[in-house]
Amino acid sequence: MRPDLTVLAGLIPDGSRVLDLGCGEGQLLAHLEQRGCEIQGVEIDGEAVVRAVRRGVPVIEADIEGELSTFADGSYDVVVLSQTLQAMVNPAQVLRELKRVGTRGVVSVPNFGLWRNRLALLRGRMPVSATIPHAWYETPNIHLSTLIDLETLLDDVDLVVERRVLLGEDAAPLRSSLAANLRAAAAIYLVR
């Protein structure tokens, strides 16, 4: 499993009912099921759905933004948005829905404010890095943000941050939160 997913999984208690929005091939959910979680995925890419199904992960093939409203209030213990929010057309609405459907949410995002990204912009180029791997003209990430920007939005939609894990460029957790918005390549938020 990707290192950031291992960190993310660590924020989810054993036995939770988990909805993973943009679950891809279902690695995270398959791992959580081994820990007694009740799992359900949503994924828009059909080939990823087939691979997830092959590993035993139940997946609804759908566009998250169209599908979210159909889930019942408070029907999951944890709703996961792993490296997905930045690809949404309306991230604020997706976060409001996450709050409605889940008791808690886990949101992981790349940090556009990473010093290396800023340096790229100073050089006059759009950044391309491990956490922002696409060229500007082919990226699905239409709503990139810095950590400060994201935290402002979380606050705006009344989501309270219970924990924040900062990840370095090697995807390992940073030990100190000093200058987080400069040093973190990505971050994972546990919100409620």
Binding site: I39, Q40, V53, P58, E61, A72
Partner: protein
């Protein structure tokens, strides 16, 4: 991947005077015979059985051939060595439906009470009656639990019924181009088909089989019209355009401008209606369509919760151009099951062929069924 070879339809008596099949409406059938086929081998642990439920006008002959390798079962592309329903690993069971006319007891069968065919005295059936017969077939085969039940259209409705009725018996349910209940439009089409049959002068109150000569074959015009109309709902407008367009039968292009069969699509429908008469009976058409009309899988509010409690899993597939049971039918099943906490996989597959897509192989469809069943096989029943 290869095709199955020669297969034979088997018959078994699953209801007798001493052990009658009591139907949902309380009436009892004292002689129930079932035609079925099986493919592959049952494992020593009896844990690799997959049940195939056919659609409205299907039969037990789902795969392989009966002597002419060119004429193959109706789901031959899905069932066979190395196929999604892999007969090298799975034991596949495919029966004809109760109320049908292709080997299993139905309205044309002899009523033991009178020694004559039932006709309209055959009891009205419900979806749960189909399942009750399927369960007797499983008992006959010595199987307690299915690895999976798979069905398209009416077949998927039976799978859903089975899941709500005995979820502990169906570990994995696969419902393709299916529905939990018909809409007014679905019932309307169904009603017009039945009207065409019953208003045909040759219907004779459903006792046409007592007549002499060609009239004994029943309401041929009505049945053919019912089939022609139903067939329109099985194809998308796009599929019809691609298949026929506005092409004429007469290749010279001279439009005759009459009321005969002039366009290719008319000729096709005529052919569909005509060939249907050779293999299907009007009374079975009435009885089976009525089962679909009355079906309402989630009328019992506890139904979905029972499926969840039994730990069964569901795969639901729809096709984007299906307007017979469009995606909203599948989404209704999906939503109800997901809210009840049943682990559920859903895909809407792109296919130009409408409802009939479940018999074809649009990209992604068989791959999904295969992935679901491979996983089921891996973890076991």
């Amino acid at each position: 991947m290869s095709d199955l070879g020669f297969v034979e339809t088997q018959r078994v008596v699953l209801g007798t005077e001493d052990d009658p099949l009591v139907l949902a409406n309380g009436r009892a059938l004292t002689h129930v015979e079932v035609a079925y086929e099986t493919y592959g081998e049952l494992s020593p642990a009896r844990d690799n059985a997959i049940f195939v439920c056919h659609a409205l006008t299907g039969d037990a002959h789902a795969a392989g051939h009966h002597g002419d390798p060119a004429r193959r079962g109706w789901w031959d592309n899905l069932i066979g060595p190395g196929k999604a329903l892999d007969t090298d690993r799975f034991f596949v069971i495919s029966p004809n439906l109760l109320g049908g006319c292709q080997g299993t007891t139905g309205p044309l069968s002899t009523d033991p009470a009178t020694g004559k065919p039932y006709g309209l005295d055959f009891p009205l059936l419900q979806m749960s009656d189909f399942v009750a017969v399927h369960q007797r077939l499983l008992a006959h085969l010595g199987i307690d639990r299915l690895l999976a039940a798979v069905g398209g259209s009416l077949g998927g409705m039976q799978v859903l019924q089975w899941l709500t009725q005995a979820p502990e018996q169906v570990t994995n349910g696969v419902m393709i181009a299916s529905s939990s209940r018909l809409t007014a439009q679905n019932i309307a089409f169904s009603a017009v088909g039945r009207e065409a049959i019953m208003r045909d002068p040759d219907f004779h109150d459903g006792r046409y089989f007592e007549l002499d000569g060609p009239a004994s074959q029943g309401p041929k015009i009505g049945l053919a019209i019912a089939r022609m109309m139903a067939h329109i709902t099985y194809l998308s407008e796009e599929a019809m355009t691609e298949k026929f367009g506005r092409r004429l039968q007469d290749k010279s292009g001279d439009q005759r401008m009459g009321f005969g069969v002039d366009f290719e699509v008319e000729s096709y429908l005529n052919y569909q209606g005509r060939t249907f008469l050779d293999r299907f009976d009007a009374l079975s058409y009435l009885y089976l369509t009525r089962v679909m009309d009355y079906f309402d899988a989630f009328a019992d509010p506890g139904a979905a919760a029972r499926i969840a409690a039994a730990g069964a899993r569901a795969l639901i597939i729809s096709f984007d151009t299906d307007w017979r049971f469009d995606t909203s039918h599948s989404v209704r099943i999906l939503r109800t099951l997901e809210r009840a906490r049943v682990p559920v996989t859903f895909r809407e597959i792109r296919s130009p062929w409408g409802h009939d897509s479940f018999l074809l192989q649009p990209p992604g469809y068989h791959e999904t069924v295969r992935a679901f069943l491979d996983r089921a096989h891996e973890v076991g029943g």
